[in-house]
């Protein structure tokens, strides 16, 4: 695999405030890469820099080995789908989709052909004569996608394209978008604040926070092995327990936890020393709940403070003897339905993840 797009030390300021940077990443051929993060993290700024709508103050952007840092958007050969679709409201669907081809001086007969073929690809054949305002939100989005793809760009850019759709349609479009992307084999940069979207669609995810990259990883790595407190808390539910490093073995550490007891934890132990304050991370579904103490006596005793039924899962709030509250989620099967509030249980924290403790 080779990189289609590369950003090196890219930085953008808006007056005195930092918009984004410095950021480094690359997009591989055919890859679906997601920029994920809360609003204001710089993900849209980064996308605009890639598209050429903003020029960075520092760093370089290369596309297929060519330096395009200062190149204007009209010469970049990228297809961009906007959050609000940004269709031309005064043009028909045909004229919207044909726009990029006309700018490229493609012959009229070929334009007709390519527009109708692309509308078929996005699942909206035969709507050429309609006006954008006659279409539903989902249809407009497909037109915007067709308009971006018909120019056969070297890179497809998607700026939160699903966030204006209703929940059901959004879920369906995730799969369709991913399917179209894979069928065309087009390298794609997707911007979203929705971790479910990021996980379901992406090959790799770049997690961003206040203008910098927190972590670059596959969705699985990001969920199971976050490298920062922000990453752990932004992705899904998490229990974080204070602790102190008791000993180190390679990247793993034994941690004296605030719950009482010592736990082995994997993580970036290399940067830590014995006696350092750290956090132990456990996902709620990874906590084992037993109704009797385990044989080796390693389990933590706790009281069920609360139990919430949410369909296929039960969410337990558990209070340990040391007063720490943990959340555990378990399938709502008979085994767990029988665990009543106020009863005493024993917890197995299983695989803990070691995180640096930030102030």
């Amino acid at each position: 695999m080779s990189a289609v797009l590369e950003l090196r030390r890219v930085l953008k300021r808006f007056g005195e405030t930092l918009g984004v940077g410095p950021v480094d990443f690359e997009v591989q051929e055919g890859e679906f890469l997601t920029l994920l993060g809360p609003s204001g993290c710089g993900k849209t700024t980064t996308l605009h820099i890639v598209a050429g709508l903003l020029h960075p103050d520092e760093g370089t952007v290369t596309l297929g080995g060519r330096d395009i840092t200062r190149l204007d958007p009209q010469h970049r050969d990228m297809g961009l789908v906007f959050q609000n679709y940004a269709l031309f409201p005064h043009k028909t669907v045909f004229d919207n989709v044909a726009f990029g081809l006309r700018m490229r001086k493609v012959a009229q007969s070929k334009i007709r052909d390519r527009v109708s073929r692309m509308l078929e690809v996005v699942g909206l054949p035969g709507v050429e004569a309609r006006q954008p305002h006659q279409l539903s939100g989902g249809q407009r989005q497909r037109v915007a996608l067709a308009r971006a793809l018909v120019i056969e760009p070297s890179l497809l850019l998607l700026d939160e394209p699903l966030s204006n759709l209703d929940a059901v349609l959004r879920k369906r479009m995730r799969h369709e978008l991913r399917e179209i992307q894979q069928r065309l084999g087009i390298a794609t940069v997707f911007v979203t604040h929705d971790q479910d979207e990021a996980f379901e669609m992406s090959d790799r995810v770049i997690l961003m926070n206040v203008g910098h990259i927190e972590q670059v990883a596959t969705p699985e790595e990001l969920y199971n092995s976050p490298t920062s407190r922000f990453a752990a808390e932004f992705i899904g539910e998490v229990n974080l327990i204070d602790g102190t490093v008791a000993s180190l073995i390679g990247d793993s550490a034994v941690v004296e936890a605030a719950l009482g007891g010592r736990y082995a934890a994997r993580g970036d132990g290399g940067a830590l020393g014995v006696g350092d304050k750290v956090l132990l991370m456990v996902r709620p579904e990874r906590i084992g709940i037993e109704t009797s103490p385990s044989a080796n006596g390693e389990a933590v005793e706790a009281t069920v403070a609360n139990r919430v039924f949410s369909g296929n899962t039960l969410i337990f709030t558990l209070r340990t003897a040391s007063g720490i509250e943990l959340t555990a989620s378990k399938p709502s099967t008979a085994q767990y339905r029988d665990i009543a509030p106020q009863s005493t249980v024993w917890l197995d924290l299983g695989d803990c993840r070691l995180l640096p403790r930030e102030t």
């Binding site: 598209a51 050429g52 709508l53 204007d72 958007p73 009209q74 010469h75 970049r76 990228m78 297809g79 961009l80 906007f82 959050q83 609000n84 940004a86 269709l87 031309f88 409201p89 005064h90 726009f99 990029g100 700018m103 490229r104 915007a144 308009r147 971006a148 120019i151 850019l157």
Partner: protein, 282 residues
């Protein structure tokens, strides 16, 4: 709930409805009726149903010329206001400059001084010993003062200036209301600055162009003071003609007929504006 909303809406609309009925529709009805009356030097008017006033208006070359001149000046004023106002409105709508507020104020400022003050200002500038002539002579471009006052040019220049805010504001709001992503989308699809302007920005500001042009056209067509002071008797327009007939000659029926034609022209423009606006929406 619905009925309550209706009553509430009716309450909101009552004052303006009363105002319009008594001071706009009633006078229009009054001169519609008056326009078919017969003029009498002794009794002012004699109730009748006659087309004489209209026949005279359209039949006499003098009055036909006034109608054409009025329409021509109104159209030219709208055209030049658009030509000069569009770049200004575009700049105001797009700039992030701290000067935007100041420039907006400068656009509105002329509205705060009266039409008469501004018109006298133009007399000072355009007169035979005015700033324009003095400058041109000093530069050696002309030997003797050229006649600017009492020409259509003088009326046109002053009207374009005086009515500029009515053009700039509708343009500004239609340009500022555009989704910036639409222009960005055009850029990513390969359109340069000028293509974006002619393919996207300009057609999307159509409502503002129509609105501004309709406002300036109708206001010019009905202008009295500026044409009278800058154009004198040489550049007579409909508004001034009506004024003279009503107050000097006291020929109210004929004045009413002219007013009728003027209002008809203005309503046609407004009608065309709404028709144009609907076509865009449909």
């Amino acid at each position: 709930m619905r009925a309550g909303g209706g009553i509430f809406a009716a309450t909101l609309f009552t004052p303006i409805t009363v105002l319009y009925l008594s001071f706009l529709l009633a006078p229009i009805g009054f001169f519609l009726v008056m326009s078919v009356f017969r003029y009498s030097p002794m009794e002012l008017y004699i109730p009748a149903v006659t087309a004489d006033n209209f026949v005279r208006l359209l039949g006499e070359e003098h009055y036909r010329n006034i109608i054409f001149r009025t329409l021509r000046i109104a159209a030219l004023t709208a055209f030049f206001s658009l030509l000069l106002g569009y770049p200004l409105a575009y700049f105001l709508a797009r700039t992030g400059s701290i000067w935007r507020g100041v420039l907006m104020f400068l656009v509105i400022a002329p509205l705060m001084t009266g039409v008469i003050v501004r018109t006298y200002g133009w007399i000072v500038l355009l007169g035979s010993e005015g700033t324009v002539n003095v400058t041109l002579m000093w530069l050696g471009l002309i030997d003797r003062p050229i006649k600017i006052l009492e020409t259509e040019v003088a009326v046109l220049v002053a009207l374009v200036h005086i009515l500029m805010p009515y053009m700039v504001f509708p343009l500004f709001s239609s340009l500022a209301g555009q989704d910036p992503d639409v222009e960005r989308a055009a850029a990513t699809l390969g359109a340069g600055r000028w293509r974006i302007f002619f393919e996207v920005t300009l057609p999307l500001s159509r409502a503002g162009i129509l609105m501004g042009s309709a406002l300036v056209f109708t206001l010019t067509a009905g202008a009295v003071v500026t044409p009278a002071l800058l154009g004198g008797t040489k550049v007579q327009m409909l508004g001034q003609t009506i004024y003279d007939l009503v107050l000097s000659t006291l020929n109210w029926p004929f004045a009413s007929a002219i007013a009728f034609v003027l209002v008809l022209c203005q309503f046609s423009i407004i009608f065309l504006y709404f028709k144009g606006g609907r076509r865009r929406a449909g």
